[in-house]
């Protein structure tokens, strides 16, 4: 396993460059590419939540799924697989999204924030590693969501079809959607450029099997570093790019769209890491798998979108650090609702993990 897989590094560099480029073209700072944030914005654009600052039909999500679909058709890897605990996956997807919105970013944005000098993301990384370690412990105890089965191509291409539908609706009748007039949702790269860039990223991510959770998980499970190289390649690319562009701002507080609440940064990402290991991949990987015909991953993505709506409708999501009128720091974080939600998610993850471990399943 010492052999370096160069393709995953190329894909990681491409993701890093895409994130830097899309930020320069208008995406929010340290948010060139964030799967959780962008699915949350799509939930807002569809009116599933009414947080006015985070509503936009993010073409990055559409492009990633279409890119993966195109690549898998081209390489003859497209194959419908479905039926591996879809309801559990829906709920896990929703919980991963809630955890990500507590932290304010998916694992991909975690890396992007680190590369921008955001010290509070280190807390997220700590939580992410802890979450993955707990998930790996249950994998070693025989955790499984059972096997999937072949299905019809209609099922396998359902998320791709929904994404094409959203794209056509955007072209034909954009006024159907809710679009933010201020806040992160109002900040975006030109639609079709972002679509094209993410299409390429989707193609590369499918080919490289890029997964933010998989990198750390596979090192813990098998001492396999392949996917971790992709993770590191993204970080280094973002870091060098930000330094070169003068956009590297090291600090712990008041970082772009981030909060410095120690405990909840950690616990939010514990939920994300743990849930993603149970799901078999990070939010980015779920989009890519759904593009290649995995119906269970498509259900997970739908769960994530609903999770985003829940997070904003019930005020669970994190608030960024800010300055008050006297220019004093107001540490962001989450309110009581969010804290209770994180604890419920952790309890639910524990229950799902125990009840699906092999010893339990065989009873």
């Amino acid at each position: 396993m010492k052999k370096v897989n160069w393709f995953v590094i190329v894909a990681g560099v491409a993701v890093g460059l895409a994130a830097l480029g899309l930020t320069l073209l208008g995406n929010p700072a340290n948010m060139g590419f964030c799967i959780a944030c962008f699915e949350r914005d799509i939930a807002g654009a569809l009116g599933l939540h009414s947080a006015a600052k985070v509503q936009y039909l993010r073409p990055e999500i559409i492009g990633l799924v279409l890119g993966s679909f195109i690549m898998s058709i081209g390489s003859k890897e497209f194959r419908t697989k479905t039926g591996s605990a879809p309801a559990t996956r829906f709920v896990l997807g929703a919980m991963v999204m809630i955890g990500a919105l507590v932290f304010l970013g998916c694992p991909l944005r975690l890396v992007i924030r680190l590369g921008g000098g955001d010290g509070s993301a280190i807390l997220g990384l700590v939580g992410f590693v802890i979450g993955i370690a707990i998930g790996v412990m249950f994998l070693n105890k025989g955790f499984t969501l059972k096997r999937a089965y072949d299905g019809s191509p209609v099922e396998g291409s359902m998320l791709t079809s929904v994404m094409v539908g959203l794209l056509l609706m955007f072209i034909v009748a954009p006024t159907l959607f809710h679009f933010s007039k201020a806040g992160p949702g109002s900040m975006h790269a030109p639609f079709f450029i972002a679509l094209g860039v993410s299409l390429i990223v989707g193609i590369l991510s499918q080919k490289a099997r890029l997964c933010m959770v998989g990198g750390i998980r596979d090192v813990m499970l098998f001492r396999d570093f392949k996917l971790l190289y992709g993770f590191v390649a993204i970080f280094i690319t973002i870091l060098i790019g930000n330094l070169a562009l003068g956009r590297f701002h090291a600090g712990f507080v008041l970082q772009p769209i981030a909060h410095s609440s120690t405990l909840w940064n950690i616990l939010g990402m514990v939920v994300v890491g743990w849930g993603s290991v149970l799901l078999g991949g990070c939010p980015l990987r779920q989009l890519i798998l759904a593009g290649t015909g995995n119906g269970d991953s498509a259900v997970t993505v739908f769960g994530m979108i609903v999770g985003a709506a829940i997070a904003h409708n019930f005020a669970l999501a994190g608030n960024p650090d800010s300055l008050n009128k006297a220019k004093a720091l107001v540490v962001g974080g989450i309110g009581m609702n969010g804290q209770i939600a994180v604890i419920i998610c952790l309890a639910a993850l524990l229950l799902i993990s125990i009840r699906n471990s092999r010893q339990e399943v065989q009873k």
Binding site: M1, E77, K81, Y149, G214, L221, F222
Partner: protein, 67 residues
């Protein structure tokens, strides 16, 4: 024989690892149904000292691991 068809990664590798570490077989047949699992099982098996030959069986892959 490990039948890992229908499982997404990392499950196929975990199933093979359990068999390899538990029984240390001289040879092992593994069935997977996606290219990603084929690549990952191959990478793991080679690191565990096995030679891997892959044949396509319909839409599935048969991996034969030998010491």
């Amino acid at each position: 024989m490990v039948d890992a068809r229908g499982y997404v990664c990392p499950m196929p590798v975990i199933m093979v690892k359990k068999e390899v570490e538990g029984k240390a077989p001289a040879s092992l047949e593994v069935m997977v149904d996606e290219a990603c699992a084929k690549e990952n099982v191959t990478r793991y098996a080679e690191s565990a000292g096995y030679k891997v030959t892959v044949t396509e069986e319909g839409a599935d892959f048969k991996l034969v691991l030998t010491k």
